[in-house]
């Protein structure tokens, strides 16, 4: 047969970008929320996305793992194009971990169960093995001693670190962070940022929506500024902060600095 088998994801090659977004648009009903988004992320890149509230940052990164559906353009993750095909969606979700502003831990499960659940039910791993992996990542985010507690018994910072561990358990090659520190009390922000910095140092490909400019300066390879559903400006952090090009970027930076 000469016809290509479209149901099978293409294997990634080494020079291929991890994420490739081309001419992507999205509407909520009549509302044009994302306009002509183009973004390429290579392996190991750390990208910080910032911009005023309502500019479409969350929507953009949520399109990458199909929590939201885009209507025009292409999203290709590690060689797999995101379409309606459930196999492609599963394949991409396998590679992409996500951390949310409000943690979204499962409150009826213990911390360790939160970490193991998907290993057991999605990866079909035996419980014993899954728990070992769960503990490994809880140690990595420095809260192995909380494994048997429920999320409701932990502080916000601890919960967010559990959420990071939960994602890492699935061994993703890309991590998405949607304002991971915005819901935290000030004294807990550092512990979460430290965990993220450590993750960046290990070579993880990351896209972080955040307003922590210190984090952007030390960790990011690139900073993206969005406004009104568009990518307005894209630059390396030094240039971005010292020499913003666009008026809207300047206004935004003057407001948050």
């Amino acid at each position: 047969m000469s016809e290509p088998d479209t149901s099978k994801p293409v294997m990634p090659t080494s020079d291929q970008p991890m994420i490739q977004i081309e001419g992507m648009h999205k509407w909520y009903g009549e509302f044009h929320v994302l306009k002509e988004i183009n973004l390429t992320v290579s392996k190991g890149e750390r990208i910080v996305v910032c911009g005023p509230s309502g500019s479409g940052k969350s929507t953009m990164i949520r399109c990458i793992n199909r929590l939201e559906e885009h209507q025009r353009g292409k999203i290709i993750v590690e060689g797999t194009e995101l379409t309606d095909d459930i196999k492609h969606i599963d394949q991409i979700r396998r590679e992409v971990g996500m951390v949310f502003q409000h943690f979204n831990l499962f409150p009826h499960l213990t911390v360790l169960e939160n970490c193991c659940l998907a290993l057991i039910w999605v990866r079909k791993m035996p419980r014993r093995e899954a728990e070992e992996i769960g503990m490994k990542y809880l140690e990595r985010v420095k809260i192995p001693e909380q494994a048997r507690k429920y999320p409701g018994q932990l502080s916000g910072g601890q919960q967010q670190r559990v959420a990071i561990a939960r994602s890492l358990c699935m061994n993703p090659s890309i991590m998405l962070f949607d304002e991971p520190t915005s819901a935290l009390d000030p004294e807990m922000i550092k512990e979460v940022l430290d965990t993220m910095i450590e993750l960046a140092e290990s070579g993880m490909t990351m896209i972080c929506v955040t307003h922590e400019m210190g984090f952007a300066k030390t960790v990011a390879n690139r900073v993206i500024f969005m406004d009104g559903g568009e990518i307005i400006e894209e630059n390396d952090p030094e240039e971005f902060f010292s020499n913003p090009q666009h008026d809207r970027t300047k206004l935004f930076l003057s407001q948050i600095m």
Partner: protein, 366 residues
């Protein structure tokens, strides 16, 4: 003077705020109006409880085998004790009572380990009770095999019938209700429409009508000569009716689960059914335990309506006994007994739901 002040020791609370006196003060006599209310209520309790106790306990007659034994002027519990077997088993043959006792005894024995903290295999045992036990119970009740005499369902009655009807109703209406609730929230239009129509139809008709339809009208539509057990028809009617209510209770719980829970589950790659079964339903059902148990209690009491289609549940058996010429005039005792039995079961369910809620509570509410 040192800057390091000794920590202040913990002192016991003042006497007036703890203990019996503290409690009385705080709850019953905290202000003048409160004190007046307390006294009025205490008086009302006194004037109603004393005659009741006098009638039901002090002046009551307990032993004997005919109405002549009732001479005390209070309640004649002899009526209940003489008729007790019929209240429990209906017209079930006396020689076969042991089968009913065995079936319910077995159920109690099977359920005890579920309440033990240390018992590990709760899942398997629950599955056994839900999927295997009904066949055992049916075999024991109905007979006709294993050398057991056949006992037609028209002979089943009394508390036994009440428990059979409500047991089947409870066990079947919850899963059907869950499926309907998921259907109503489905994004597939046909599934959604079918669930809405089903729920709204069954919620819109009174249970009495459902039972009448099941017993009178259904046979008209069936081919001549097909035998379709009356009890089974009533059961199906009750199950469909209650599962519509259950569906709405469960839907309330589903709506209370934040969108973030679905998103986190999706991001981890869980499928729709795994998301529902592992993440959403466990939380949603926990939230609506009071509503679920409320529906169970309503179902339990609603089974008394089967008397209008000629099934003799506990209440119907008691009412039948009123017409016995030898025992005319003892309906108060009969109704009090019926009320007591129903209350014991309903109160038991209510207490169990509270303990379940406490047990499933994990950490602080968000």
């Amino acid at each position: 003077m040192s800057l390091h002040k000794e920590p202040h020791p913990d002192l016991p609370p003042p006497m007036t705020s703890v203990g019996v006196i503290g409690w009385l003060r705080k709850n019953l006599f905290s202000s003048a109006p409160n004190t007046v209310l307390t006294l009025i209520v205490a008086y009302l309790i006194y004037i109603s409880a004393v005659p009741l106790v006098q009638w039901a306990l002090i002046d009551a007659d307990w032993v004997g085998d005919s109405r002549d034994a009732c001479t005390g002027g209070g309640a004649c519990w002899v009526f209940v004790s003489v008729r007790f077997d019929q209240f429990m088993y209906g017209f079930y043959p006396e020689s076969e009572y042991w089968r009913v006792n065995l079936a319910f005894g077995l159920l109690v024995a099977l359920m005890v380990p579920l309440f033990l903290e240390r018992f590990q295999r709760k899942g398997w045992l629950s599955a056994f009770i839900l999927f295997i036990y009904p066949f055992i119970a049916y075999t024991l009740f109905y007979g006709g095999s294993l050398g057991l005499k056949e006992v037609e369902t028209s002979l089943w009655g009394g508390l036994m019938l009440t428990l059979v009807l409500s047991g089947v109703g409870i066990v079947a209406s919850l899963p059907i209700g869950i499926v309907l609730a998921l259907g109503r929230r489905s994004s597939m239009p046909i599934v959604k429409a079918a669930s809405v129509v089903f729920i709204e139809f069954w919620r819109g008709v009174p249970l009495i009508t459902v039972l009448f339809m099941a017993s009178v009208m259904l046979p008209l539509f069936l081919p001549e000569g097909t035998h379709f057990d009356k009890l089974l028809r009533a059961m199906i009617g009750i199950v469909l009716f209650q599962s519509a209510y259950m569906a709405e209770v469960v839907r309330g719980g589903l709506q209370a689960i934040p969108k973030g829970q679905y998103e986190a589950a999706n991001a981890l790659g869980l499928s729709y059914w795994k998301t529902m079964g592992l993440i959403i339903l466990p939380q949603a059902l926990k939230l609506v335990i009071p509503g679920i148990v409320n529906t169970f209690i309503a179902l339990f009491k609603d089974t008394t309506l089967v008397l209008i289609i000629g099934l003799f549940d506990l209440l119907a058996m008691i009412q039948t006994a009123f017409t016995d010429p030898k025992w005319l005039g003892f309906s108060i005792e009969g109704y009090v007994f019926a009320a007591l039995v129903f209350w014991v079961f309903c109160f038991g369910m209510s207490r169990y739901s509270q303990s379940l809620e406490r047990k499933l509570h994990t950490g602080h509410a968000r």
